[in-house]
């Protein structure tokens, strides 16, 4: 793969996390069950950065929650397999799973205010992880916590340990979340929309921080986002999700240079870009994500697709290589976009 991020080298070897055919169905009494995630498979190797892109309701967050066993037991049915270094996370007992989360796998959420405990100081929340997972004593843990806060760029870290979350700004809270996530040097970090709640300049700081702390190390990063711009700068492999399924999956350069699924091309044509001349008209994707078919009746994107043909309504298309010799570029479409100039001008 010549698409590795500069400085990261080529990613090889056995995957750290391997998700196979993950399906999540939510059922509530008196309603039709909803299939939020449908047959998602993906691999993450140590040191790799994988992006999952999709709009709200595409199942990108549910995929990661289900993989870590964070969905409620009642109401959600999860099938498939999630293999983390030989252990199946879906069948793992709760106490083992809890030991794994926080130590080997950590997560950063979108809104740091609602994921930090408002009545405990930041110091308490970080030292808790250190004493619990790394067996440190209190004094030791406090020093380590200060070092962690310092490493994520918080000035005057020792004093900040005594701050409550509400005393910090949004950007600082997200830095604290990242410090907590990195406290046990996890091998896998899942960041779910880590910058969506932040301002542009602060979001650039946080992405830079992730780039420095994670991308430089052997930690694998899963970045969940709706912003194609964020994955363009950060991810080795990108999975585009629509309505619970991966519709296109490719290393970042081929994905942006040669997008094949009409949804991917549609997304790229519908966002204004700062580096293009101003007069370029926006080509929106018609309809809205709620106009989707269940996948069992064919492609769920077909009601909104400009390239829809009768075959789209047969059976759901399979995720196949985009062309011979591109094992990493997969697309789920019976009528993919091959001729670029034509598709974008349409």
């Amino acid at each position: 793969m010549q698409d590795a991020v500069p400085g990261r080298g080529v990613v090889q070897g056995a995957p750290l996390l391997s998700i196979r055919d993950l399906t999540v169905t939510f059922a509530s009494r008196g309603r039709r069950p909803v299939r939020a995630v449908d047959g998602v498979s993906l691999d993450i190797a140590p040191g790799e950065t994988v992006g999952i892109v999709g709009e709200s309701g595409s199942g990108k967050s549910v995929t990661s929650l289900a993989a870590l066993g964070l969905l409620p037991k009642r109401g959600a049915t999860v099938t498939g397999s999630v293999d983390f270094e030989g252990d199946d996370l879906l069948s793992m007992p709760d106490d083992e799973l809890r030991a794994l989360r926080g130590r080997d796998v950590a997560m950063v959420f979108q809104d740091p205010m609602s994921s930090l405990n408002p009545v405990l100081t930041v110091g308490r929340q970080i030292t808790e992880i250190l004493t619990r997972h790394r067996g440190m004593r209190k004094g030791e843990a406090r020093e380590e916590a200060a070092r962690l806060l310092d490493s994520v760029g918080i000035a005057d870290a020792t004093r900040r340990l005594g701050s409550f979350p509400h005393q910090l700004s949004g950007g600082m809270r997200q830095r604290v979340m990242i410090a907590m996530a990195l406290a046990c040097k996890p091998r896998l970090l899942i960041a779910d929309e880590p910058t969506t709640a932040l301002d542009v300049t602060i979001s650039a700081q946080i992405l830079e921080l992730l780039r420095e702390l994670v991308v430089g190390s052997q930690t694998a990063l899963v970045l969940i986002t709706h912003d194609l711009g964020v994955v363009a700068g950060l991810c080795d492999q990108v999975h585009v999700m629509y309505s619970g399924r991966i519709v296109e999956s490719a290393p970042r350069r081929p994905l942006f240079a040669d997008p094949q699924h009409p949804y991917t091309t549609g997304l790229l044509a519908s966002v204004p870009r700062l580096d293009q001349p101003r007069g370029v008209p926006l080509l929106p994707i018609p309809g809205s994500p709620s106009d989707t078919l269940p996948w069992s009746q064919g492609c769920a994107f077909s009601p909104r697709c400009t390239r829809s043909i009768p075959e789209c309504l047969g059976s759901p298309p399979a995720l196949l290589p985009a062309a011979a010799g591109t094992p990493h570029h997969l697309v789920r479409c019976v009528n993919p976009v091959r001729d670029h100039a034509g598709a974008v001008q349409q």
Binding site: Q205, A232, R252
Partner: protein, 355 residues
């Protein structure tokens, strides 16, 4: 002549303390001396980060917030001096589109009732039903939408209802506060295109307030960049993006991710340090000096820069017209590269904002 002229506008909110007796202990200077003008039929974009006062500015223009000082002249009339009946009559000519259509539409009101309410309020004669159908058609909703309720629509369709309500009275000016930021990416373009189409058909004048610079650039003729309650740069959309003069504008532009790996890898980023200071105690001198990579030891911390047209240095095509104004003491030197940004790391300021 401009349709809208804002001169020296200030909106300060008092900070109260005390349980029985309210004492005012300070002011949040949400908008602190803003001058803007919008020509008829054009679009002014206002960008800035959260807390910079852009929404308050939009609301103050419609007199939805009390003005502390300054004037808002709409078509020759100073709104600041109007009251009661006269103000209500003027409001008919200026309307607002809000960010979250679900929060700004009454869940128990059908679409036809939502759209005819402005007509009832302002005592418009004639068939309201016909006007409702006409409005739905204008924003691209089926006539059958009239009898449905907000929860039955998707986000994009709800925003269309919000826009239909805003144009119901044939206003001249529309203030759109983050009109697309609550919508999914694939839907945003639909609403942006609708706004542009309506402007062309109805000759509307827009003030579009947003934090997404790419969207603002797409839709606006002129753009004002706000920071901590003040405008730091105002320019035609093209020249703002081709030649940003204020250090803050440069940092803002460089912070926006571009969906193209080739561009992303090659870009140089200007990373700002720290957070936005509190609006209740803005830094003295230039408001941006606490985070500015180009900060100089003189002037920046004690002299407030005013909006001005920078003088063109020899050999460089700068500021083609008087339209490109910037509030920075060192705009010329920053542009020519005479001053270089300091390579600051990512650090936080001493004090976190208290707001």
């Amino acid at each position: 002549m401009s349709l809208l002229e804002v001169r020296g506008l200030k909106v300060h909110f008092p900070i109260k303390k005390g349980i029985v007796l309210d004492r005012t202990v300070g002011h949040v200077r949400a908008v602190d001396g803003v001058d803007l003008s919008v020509e008829k039929g054009r679009t002014l974009g206002v960008v800035g980060e959260s807390g910079c006062g852009k929404s308050t500015l939009g609301r103050a223009v419609l007199r939805l917030e009390p003005l502390t000082a300054g004037s808002v002249v709409f078509d020759g009339t100073d709104l600041a001096t109007l009251g009661g009946k006269d103000l209500r009559a003027m409001r008919r000519r200026m309307q607002m589109v809000f960010q979250d259509p679900l929060a700004s539409l009454d869940p128990r009101q059908s679409v036809s009732s939502v759209l005819s309410e402005p007509l009832r309020t302002h005592g418009v004669q004639g068939s309201h039903d016909a006007r409702v159908r006409e409005l739905l058609d204008l924003v691209g909703l089926p006539a059958s939408a009239a009898n449905r309720y907000p929860h039955e629509f998707s986000g994009g369709q709800r925003q269309r209802v919000g826009i239909a309500r805003a144009i119901a009275l044939n206003p001249e000016l529309i203030i759109a506060d983050e009109p697309v930021s609550a919508l999914d990416v694939s839907i945003q373009a639909q609403v942006v295109n609708l706004l542009e189409e309506l402007q062309e058909r109805l000759g509307l004048t827009y003030v579009v307030i947003a934090h997404d610079l790419a969207v603002v650039r797409h839709i606006s003729d002129d753009i004002a960049v706000m920071y901590l309650g003040a405008v730091v740069e105002v320019a035609p959309a093209e020249s703002l993006y081709d030649e940003p003069l204020h250090p803050y504008t440069r940092a803002l532009l460089s912070a926006i991710p571009i969906p193209d790996p080739e561009v992303e890898d090659a870009r140089e980023r200007i990373l700002l340090t720290g957070d936005i200071p509190s609006a209740s105690a803005p830094p003295p001198g230039c408001r941006f000096h606490t985070r500015c990579p180009w900060r100089q030891p003189t002037r920046c911390h004690d002299e407030v820069p005013l909006l001005r047209v920078p003088t063109a240095p020899p050999g460089l095509p700068v500021a083609d017209s008087a339209a490109h104004q910037v509030a920075c003491h060192w705009a010329e030197q920053v542009l020519t590269g005479e001053l270089q940004p300091s390579s600051g790391g990512v650090t936080e300021p001493e004090s976190a904002p208290t707001v």
